[in-house]
Symmetry: C2
């Protein structure tokens, strides 16, 4: 089955102490869509400007991503530039040029409206709502977000949480939303806001799922070197939704394994700037790391 992915489609300029990487393909939708494409057909919803490089359209095509929902808009593509410190732990935004994303409003082609799996990637909650408004009874909807929307669009985000099956956020966002330091208490509080499934991401410490079957403690794949963590969270949820969309049986029975696939897909993302490593990854590479994670956690 197919996954509809909405989010930002951006150009990222990522500086580190040793390297400059101008205008890489980035954005939550790009990372999530490529990650999901390893497992199932993907329908992309987004907006890019006239300056969007053709090579990135070709990249989407190589991943067999349906671009019927990708709008080409007059103006410039959303451009983010940031800088990492030596230890790669702290990221500083240098510039954000919204470009066409400022006026972008998702319009779903007819062929998208019955997608069974919907990933509302990180973008303004109002736009996530607009996508849902155009869908006819999707089977499973998961939303991602970021601290920015908790700060400036909390009412819309809270309304969204009542419309989704799953919500994914990182530990600092969970703290911001619930004022709870304890991850497990925070999970409990977030369920009360609506979602049946809540996943808290903890970067290199893995992630935790909370759902009707209780908790699942999901490990991160052990990386000896993180080159660029930009988009790792989007890759995680993209891989997760892509796997879920092809797995047979009940969501509940597949979600743990889907998180493992998400975790592994995100590990490849971290090993290169932007999508450079992810796009060189093969399904067999993913399967190998999933098997490794099985070994690494067995007792």
């Amino acid at each position: 089955m197919s996954v509809l992915v909405v989010g930002t489609t951006a150009l990222d300029s990522i500086k580190t102490p040793t390297k400059e990487n101008p205008r890489l393909l980035g954005g939550s939708a790009s990372h999530a869509a490529v990650a999901a494409s390893f497992f199932s057909p993907v329908k992309l919803v987004g907006g890019v400007g006239e300056d969007f490089p053709k090579k990135y359209l070709a990249l989407y095509h190589r991943h067999r991503i349906d671009l019927a929902g990708l709008q080409m808009l007059p103006g410039k593509t959303f451009h983010w530039s940031g800088e990492y410190e030596v230890n790669m732990n702290n990221r500083r935004t240098l510039a954000t040029e919204l470009g066409v994303i400022e006026t972008f409003s998702p319009t779903l082609p007819k062929s998208y409206q019955s997608s069974p799996f919907v990933l509302l990637g990180n973008i303004a909650p109002a736009l996530q709502h607009r996508v849902l408004d155009q869908m006819s009874r999707p089977r499973f909807v998961v939303a991602d977000s970021m601290d920015l929307w908790l700060n400036i669009a909390l009412p819309e985000l809270l309304k969204l949480l009542k419309r989704v099956d799953g919500f994914v956020l990182n530990d600092s966002e969970a703290h911001q939303l619930t004022k709870e330091d304890n991850v497990f208490t925070a999970l409990k509080k977030i369920h009360k806001l609506g979602p049946k499934y809540v996943i808290i991401k903890k970067g290199s410490h893995g992630s935790v799922l909370s759902g009707p079957k209780g908790f699942f403690i999901c490990p991160a794949y052990p990386l000896h070197k993180v080159v660029d963590p930009t988009g790792a969270g989007d890759s995680f949820v993209g891989g997760l939704m892509g796997y879920l969309a092809t797995a047979r049986g009940a969501i509940d029975a597949n979600l743990r394994r889907a998180m493992i696939y998400g975790s592994v897909t995100a590990s490849f993302c971290c090993e290169g700037f932007g999508l450079t490593r992810t796009t060189q990854t093969r399904r067999s590479d993913i399967e190998r790391r999933v098997k490794e994670l099985e070994q690494l956690t067995k007792f």
Copy 2:
């Protein structure tokens, strides 16, 4: 088989925003010995002053801990007092009165010298060396330490690392020792200092083992509320060594499960001040949480 445990035997006064807990039984040896006692016979090595409450001797006795190696010295028992902030994440030392620990020197009774399992709990590396000097070919030796010894006794600690099978430290100490942020790279570097097995503890994020069979990612038991994490690291390594000492077969084959038992024992420690919760724990409570952890990590 029995475990010899050396470390501090202390009185801890622990303040939180809502409660004062004066003169609780504490110290690395107390926490580790009680934790190990759930699984195997324990031989304690330590020194206390004339003010050491009889009720704490009774507590050791209830856990069938051999006290032949516990010296009663003229003077006062080592006393630590500290304060936790509201979120229980930051601890501040209010006072440290060394008392008898300043002149304590471990002397092993004859009955201790052939203990097959030796836990060199957190105490000055010079004293850890002194214990090893008195042992006759132990089967498995693990050392714990703390940032203090990395700061003021690094040469002795580095010498110790060449004499032990396993070394346990937390992530910030691993960073301090190796200047590495990445846990897996740090593990590699610590092996080069001597130990065949290295375990890095990450608090509520679990722990990671590195050994000849590769890595093991060990989860922490999910706690909704941490009352007092003092001694959790000592409980972890105590439970680990206690379990190892009773498990049949090769160390390598038992170490992962031993970490799980250590992790669960530490979870009980965190649920009460000092040893108050741990001492109310039964072996069946531990087994229940081990089964739960199996469920929480299966995929």
